[in-house]
C-alpha cells in the first residue's frame, strides 16, 4: 500500500485546489465538497506508517514530504476537524458571498494540511503563508465593521509574524546549508547566531500560537469569523504555530540561552492572564478564544520544558501532540456549539446541555475524557525531578492553576451561552456537524493515532484511583469559585476583546489611506528661466550690431599673437 501514499499526498494538497477549478460549473452544489476535501488527508494520516518520506527535487526548492508520529497526529486533528467543521458549514452558510467563502476555505485548508506534511522549510513556509493569508478571507467574511477591524489587526500581526519567521528560517537555512526541517533544527542548536534564530522562530510562530503580547489579534479574529471558520481557526490553525515550534526549535539538543524558562513563564502568563481576561468577556466566542490562549499557554509549558531539557524532549514531544489533538477537537466542538440553538424543552434540552458541557469539562481534565489522559500524561512528562530548569518546581502548581482557570472559563462560557442563546430550531447539517465533532472529541479520539508512551498505564481512558484527586480537585475548586462568583458578583468587569489593543490609539493601520499631495514644481525656477531667456534675446539683438565686438576680437587676437611671437 506504500505506492498509494504519494497519490494520497497529492490528493491532500491538490484536491482542495482542484475543487476551486470546478467553481464555474459546480455552482452552489460545490459547497457539498467541504466535508469531503480533507478526507484524503485523514486516510493518509491513518494509513501511513511513521517515518515515510517522499522527495520531489523539481518542486519549489527540492521539496520533501514527510510523515512521522508527530505529523500524523497533527494531520489527523487537522483533517478531522476541518471535515466535521465542513459538515457544520453546510448547515451554517447562507448564499451571501458563498463562492468567496468557499475559495478561501479551500485555500486555507490546503495550507493547513500541507504545512503538516511538508518536510522542508520552503514548502512548510509556503503552506504556512498560504494558510495565514487565505484565512483573512474567512475572518472578514461577514464584512461587519468589527470584522474588518479584526481583519486589519490580524493582517498586520500576520505579516509581522511571517517576516520574523522568514528571517528565522533564512538564518537557519544559511547555517544548515539545507532546507530540510530536521537538519535545520539541529543546525540551529550549534549556530553562532543561535540566540537570534531561536528568538525569531519563537516569536514568528508565537504570533499564530497566541504567545502573550502577540496574542491580541486572536480574541478579535476568532469570534468575528463565521462559526465553522472560528472552529478551525481556534482548533486547528492555532496548532500550526505549535507544530512550527516543535519542528524548528532545537528540541532534544543543548541550545544556548534559557529560552525554555522564558517559554514557561510566557505559558504561565498566557494561561492565567488569558483566563483572567476571558472571564471578563461578554460574548461566548470571545471567551472561547481566550480559553484557547490559556490552553496554548499550558502547551507552552511543555515546549519550554522540552527546549530546556534536551534529554526529556523525546518524551515530551508526543505529549505535546496528544494535548494538541485533545484540545483541538474539544475546542472545535465548543466553538461549533455556540451556533447551535438550545432546543425548547424536554430531555433533548438536557442532552444538549450535557453535550455542550462535555468538551469543556474534558478540557478541564474530567476523568474518562481525553482531557484526563492529556493532563495525566502532561503531569508525568513535566515531573519536576526529571527536569533541570529554573522553573521546574513551578510547573505542577502551574498546571493545577491552569486547570482551574480553564474550567472557570468554561463555566463563564456556559453561563453566557445560557443567558444569550434563545431556543429555536437548527438546520440538520449544523446538528450533524456539531455532534460529529463532539463525538470526535469524546469517542473517536481514543482510536486515533497518538502516543502516550508509558507515561500513563493502560487502559488510557480509565485513570488509576490515586489519580482522581489530582484530576477532580481543580474541578471542584473551580466549581465552588464559579458558584460563589455567580452568587456574589452581580456583573463581571468587562474587558474588550483584544485586551491590549484597547490601549492602542485607534488609527488606520495602513498608511496607504493617508493622502499626501506631491510638492508643486519649482515656480521660481520657471520664472528665473523666463527672465534669463528674455535677457539673452536682448543681448542677441544688440550683438547684431556687433561690428565693435568683431573689432575687439581682432584686436585681442593681434595682441595675443604679438605678445608671443
Amino acid at each position: 500500500m506504500m505506492p498509494v501514499l504519494p497519490f494520497l499526498v497529492i490528493a491532500t494538497v491538490g484536491l482542495p485546489l482542484l475543487w476551486l477549478l470546478t467553481m464555474p460549473f459546480a455552482g452552489r452544489w460545490q459547497r457539498f465538497g467541504l466535508p469531503i476535501l480533507p478526507l484524503p488527508a485523514l486516510i493518509l494520516a491513518l494509513a501511513s506508517t511513521s517515518g515515510w518520506q517522499w522527495s520531489l527535487p523539481w518542486l519549489l526548492m527540492d521539496s520533501q514530504w514527510l510523515l512521522d508520529d508527530l505529523r500524523r497526529t497533527f494531520l489527523t486533528l487537522t483533517a478531522l476537524l476541518w471535515s466535521t467543521a465542513g459538515v457544520f458549514a453546510l448547515g451554517y452558510l447562507d448564499n451571501r458571498n458563498l463562492n468567496r467563502f468557499l475559495v478561501f476555505w479551500c485555500l486555507t485548508l490546503t495550507g493547513n494540511l500541507g504545512l503538516v506534511i511538508a518536510g522542508d522549510a520552503a514548502s512548510f513556509y509556503t503552506f504556512f503563508a498560504l494558510m495565514t493569508f487565505a484565512s483573512y478571507g474567512l475572518v472578514v467574511h461577514d464584512g461587519t465593521a468589527e470584522a474588518l477591524r479584526a481583519g486589519r489587526v490580524y493582517m498586520v500581526m500576520a505579516v509581522a509574524g511571517e517576516m520574523l519567521l522568514l528571517a528565522g528560517l533564512m538564518l537557519a537555512a544559511e547555517e544548515a546549508d539545507s532546507l530540510l526541517l530536521t537538519e535545520l533544527a539541529s543546525a540551529v542548536a550549534t549556530a553562532p547566531r543561535a540566540q537570534l534564530i531561536i528568538g525569531l522562530l519563537i516569536t514568528g510562530f508565537g504570533v499564530k500560537a497566541g504567545l502573550p503580547l502577540l496574542h491580541f489579534w486572536l480574541p478579535l479574529a476568532h469570534p468575528v469569523a463565521p462559526t465553522p471558520a472560528s472552529a478551525v481557526l481556534s482548533g486547528a490553525m492555532i496548532k500550526a504555530g505549535l507544530l512550527g515550534w516543535v519542528l524548528t526549535l532545537p528540541l532534544g539538543q543543548a541550545s544556548p540561552g534559557n529560552w525554555g524558562d522564558l517559554m514557561v513563564v510566557a505559558g504561565a502568563v498566557a494561561s492565567l492572564g488569558g483566563a483572567l481576561a476571558g472571564i471578563c468577556q461578554q460574548q461566548t466566542k470571545a471567551v472561547l478564544a481566550y480559553s484557547s490562549i490559556s490552553q496554548m499557554g499550558l502547551v507552552m509549558l511543555l515546549v519550554g520544558a522540552a527546549l530546556a531539557t534536551p534529554d526529556r524532549a523525546a518524551v515530551i514531544v508526543p505529549v505535546i501532540a496528544l494535548y494538541a489533538l485533545h484540545h483541538g477537537l474539544a475546542k472545535g466542538a465548543l466553538f461549533l456549539s455556540t451556533a447551535v440553538h438550545p432546543p425548547a424543552a424536554g430531555p433533548v434540552r438536557w442532552a444538549y446541555w450535557l453535550l455542550l458541557a462535555l468538551p469543556g469539562f474534558s478540557l478541564a481534565g474530567l476523568p474518562w475524557t481525553s482531557g484526563a489522559l492529556a493532563k495525566l500524561a502532561m503531569k508525568e512528562a513535566l515531573a519536576s525531578d526529571q527536569l533541570t530548569m529554573a522553573t521546574a518546581t513551578w510547573l505542577s502548581p502551574m498546571m493545577t492553576a491552569g486547570a482551574v482557570a480553564t474550567l472557570l472559563l468554561i463555566l463563564r462560557f456556559l453561563w453566557l451561552h445560557h443567558t444569550q442563546a434563545e431556543p429555536s430550531a437548527n438546520p440538520r447539517w449544523r446538528i450533524a456537524g456539531w455532534l460529529l465533532t463532539v463525538a470526535g472529541s469524546g469517542l473517536v479520539f481514543w482510536v486515533l493515532p497518538w502516543q502516550a508512551g508509558d507515561l500513563v498505564e493502560q487502559p488510557y481512558w480509565l485513570p488509576k484511583a490515586y489519580q482522581y484527586p489530582a484530576l477532580l480537585a481543580p474541578i471542584g475548586l473551580a466549581l465552588t469559585a464559579g458558584v460563589l462568583a455567580a452568587l456574589l458578583v452581580r456583573r463581571a468587569p468587562a474587558v474588550p476583546p483584544g485586551d491590549l489593543l484597547a490601549l492602542w490609539p485607534s488609527r488606520r493601520p495602513f498608511p496607504g489611506a493617508v493622502r499626501v499631495q506631491p510638492a508643486p514644481p519649482g515656480e521660481n525656477l520657471r520664472r528665473w528661466a523666463n527672465t534669463v531667456s528674455a535677457l539673452s534675446v536682448g543681448a542677441e539683438t544688440h550683438m547684431r550690431s556687433g561690428g565693435l565686438l568683431a573689432l575687439a576680437v581682432v584686436v585681442l587676437l593681434v595682441a595675443l599673437i604679438n605678445q608671443v611671437s
Binding site: P57, W58, L59, L60, M61, D62, R100, A122, S123, Y125, T126, A129, L130, F133, G137, V140, G143, L148, G151, M155, V159, A160, E162, M163, L166, A167, M170, L171, A173, E174, F510, P511, G512, A513, V514, R515, V516
Partner: protein, 499 residues
C-alpha cells in the same frame, strides 16, 4: 547545431532585424490597415521569440554567437549572445509578444496607431540590442536608441501632462546618457578597451580615476534604473498608455538600466575588482535606501499606476542590491529578480490597464468590489501583488529567499532586515488594494464602464495578464527545474562568476 554553423552569427542580426523591419513596415503602413499591422506585429514578435529560443538552446549547449565589425578606429560594433544576454533577450521577446497583443486591444480605435506601434517595435529592437550588445560601446548605442524610441510612446497621448512627463523623461535619460558617455570615453582612455569579458577587463590596482569612472557609469545607468536621487522621471511617465508603462517598467527602460549596471559590474570592472575597490558597498547602501524609499513613497500614492511606479523604483533596486552583494548567491538573486520583477510587474500593469479601460477606474479608492466584477483580472492582480510582497510559492519569494541567503553568505545581515522591511511595506501598500478588490462591496456605479460582451473585458486585454499571472505562479513553484529563471540565473553565475 554545430559550432561553426554559418547561420549562427546571423541569428543575432535576425533577432534584431525582426523588430526593426516590423517597425519600418508599420511606419510605412497607412493608419487604417489595422489587420495587416496586427499580423505584422504579432508575426514579428513570434518569429523573434522562436529565434531567441533557438539561441537560448544554443547558449545552453555552450555555443557563443558573435558578430562584429569596426565602426571607428579601435571601436567595434559587436553583438554577442552569452548566457546573461539571453536572459534579458528572452525576457524581452516573451513579454514583447504579450504586450503587443495587449496593446492591440488597448489601443482599439485610438489615433496614431502606426506611430505608436512603430516606435513600440523600435523600442523592443533597442532592448534586444542592449541584451545582445557585446561591448560597452554597442550597449551605449542601443541604450540611447532606446531613449529616443520610448519618448514618442510616453508622450503618445499628446496631452499637456503627457508632454510634461515626456520632457522630464527626456531630460533625465539624456543627461544620464551623457554622463555615461563621459564615463565610457574616460574608461576607454584609461584602459583602451570597452569589451565585456567574464571577470571584467579592468586590471591593476584600484585607482581614484577608476572609481570616478565607475561612479559616472553607474550614475548614467542609474537614471534609467531609477536609483534614488535619479528616479524622478518614473512616476511622471505614468501618463503613458498602460502597455507602455508595462513595457517601460517590466522590460525596456528600467530593466535596461539595471541590466547595464549588471554588465558594468560583472563584465567591465569585474565583481572581484569592484569589491576590492570598495565600490560595491556604497552602491548596495544606495540600492537598499532606494528600496525602502520607493516603498514608503508608494504608500502615499492614491493613483494605482503611480503606486505601481514607486513600487517599481523599489523593486528594481533588488537587482542592483543583489549584484552588489558580490557573491554568487547574491548575483543569482539579483539576476533572477531581473526576470521575476518583469513578469510580476507587467501583470500588475496589465491589470491596472484593464481596470482603467473597462471600468474607468484609476484611483485605488475607486476599486471597491472590482473583484467580483472582473474576477480573472483581479485574481491575476492578486497573484502579482502577493508575488511582489514575496509570499511563497510565488516568484517574488524565490528572489527574496535567494537574496537573503546571498546577503548572509556575504556577511551583510542588515540586507536581510532591508528585505523584510520592504516586504512589510509592500504588504502595506498592496494588501489594501487586494482587500478593496475582494472584500469591499460596490455601492455606486463604475466611473465609466464598458461592456465587452460575454467576457469581463476584451479578450486581447484579458489573456496577457492571466498568462503572466500563471507564469508568476509556475516559475515560483517549479523554480528548481532546468530553464526556469532560477536555474538559468545559476547557469549565468556559474559561467560569469567562476569563468
Amino acid at each position: 547545431m554545430a559550432e561553426d554553423f554559418w547561420l549562427n552569427p546571423w541569428l543575432l542580426v535576425m533577432a534584431l532585424a525582426t523588430s526593426m523591419v516590423a517597425a519600418l513596415g508599420i511606419f510605412m503602413l497607412p493608419e487604417e490597415r489595422h489587420g495587416l499591422r496586427t499580423t505584422l506585429n504579432l508575426g514579428a514578435a513570434a518569429l523573434k521569440l522562436v529565434l531567441v529560443i533557438v539561441m537560448v538552446w544554443g547558449v545552453f549547449q555552450g555555443l557563443e554567437y558573435q558578430l562584429s565589425f569596426t565602426m571607428l578606429p579601435g571601436i567595434e560594433f559587436e553583438l554577442k549572445a552569452d548566457s546573461l544576454s539571453m536572459m534579458f533577450a528572452g525576457l524581452s521577446s516573451v513579454l514583447w509578444l504579450l504586450t503587443t497583443a495587449y496593446a492591440v486591444g488597448y489601443l482599439e480605435n485610438s489615433p496614431n496607431r502606426s506611430r505608436f506601434f512603430g516606435f513600440f517595435s523600435l523600442c523592443v529592437a533597442s532592448t534586444t540590442g542592449i541584451a545582445l550588445a557585446g561591448n560597452l560601446f554597442t550597449f551605449f548605442l542601443f541604450y540611447e536608441m532606446l531613449t529616443l524610441s520610448t519618448y514618442p510612446l510616453v508622450v503618445h497621448r499628446g496631452t499637456a501632462k503627457a508632454l510634461k512627463a515626456g520632457r522630464s523623461y527626456i531630460i533625465y535619460t539624456l543627461s544620464g546618457g551623457a554622463v555615461f558617455l563621459l564615463g565610457m570615453a574616460w574608461l576607454y582612455a584609461e584602459t583602451g578597451t570597452l569589451d565585456f569579458a567574464p571577470g571584467g577587463v579592468v586590471e591593476g590596482e584600484p585607482t581614484p580615476v577608476l572609481a570616478a569612472i565607475f561612479v559616472l557609469l553607474v550614475a548614467g545607468l542609474g537614471v534609467k534604473a531609477a536609483l534614488f536621487p535619479l528616479h524622478g522621471w518614473l512616476p511622471q511617465a505614468m501618463v503613458a498608455p498602460a502597455p507602455v508603462s508595462a513595457l517601460l517598467h517590466a522590460v525596456a527602460v528600467v530593466k535596461a538600466g539595471a541590466f547595464g549596471i549588471v554588465r558594468v559590474i560583472s563584465d567591465v570592472f569585474g565583481m572581484g575588482f569592484a569589491n576590492e575597490a570598495g565600490l560595491l558597498l556604497p552602491l548596495a547602501g544606495l540600492a537598499a535606501f532606494t528600496i525602502l524609499f520607493g516603498s514608503v513613497r508608494a504608500l502615499f500614492q492614491q493613483d494605482l499606476k503611480r503606486r505601481l511606479a514607486y513600487s517599481t523604483i523599489s523593486q528594481v533596486s533588488y537587482i542592483i542590491l543583489g549584484i552588489c552583494l558580490a557573491g554568487p548567491l547574491g548575483m543569482v538573486g539579483g539576476l533572477v529578480h531581473l526576470l521575476h520583477q518583469g513578469i510580476m510587474k507587467i501583470t500588475l500593469f496589465f491589470c491596472a490597464g484593464n481596470y482603467a479601460e473597462t471600468l474607468g477606474v484609476h484611483r485605488i479608492d475607486e476599486l471597491d468590489g472590482a473583484g467580483p466584477r472582473m474576477p480573472a483580472t483581479s485574481v491575476a492582480f492578486t497573484i502579482g501583488a502577493f508575488g511582489m510582497i514575496g509570499t511563497p510559492p510565488l516568484a517574488g519569494f524565490i528572489t527574496k529567499w535567494t537574496l537573503g541567503l546571498g546577503s548572509l553568505e556575504a556577511e551583510l545581515p542588515w540586507v536581510v532586515a532591508v528585505l523584510l522591511a520592504s516586504s512589510i511595506l509592500n504588504a502595506a501598500y498592496f494588501l489594501p488594494i487586494v482587500h478593496r478588490l475582494w472584500f469591499r462591496a460596490r455601492s455606486d456605479a463604475w466611473p465609466e464602464e464598458v461592456r465587452w460582451g460575454r467576457l469581463e473585458t476584451l479578450s486581447w486585454l484579458l489573456w496577457p495578464p492571466v498568462l503572466t499571472a500563471v507564469a508568476v505562479v509556475l516559475i515560483g513553484v517549479f523554480a528548481a527545474v532546468p530553464f526556469s529563471p532560477l536555474s538559468w540565473a545559476e547557469l549565468v553565475v556559474n559561467r560569469e562568476y567562476r569563468p
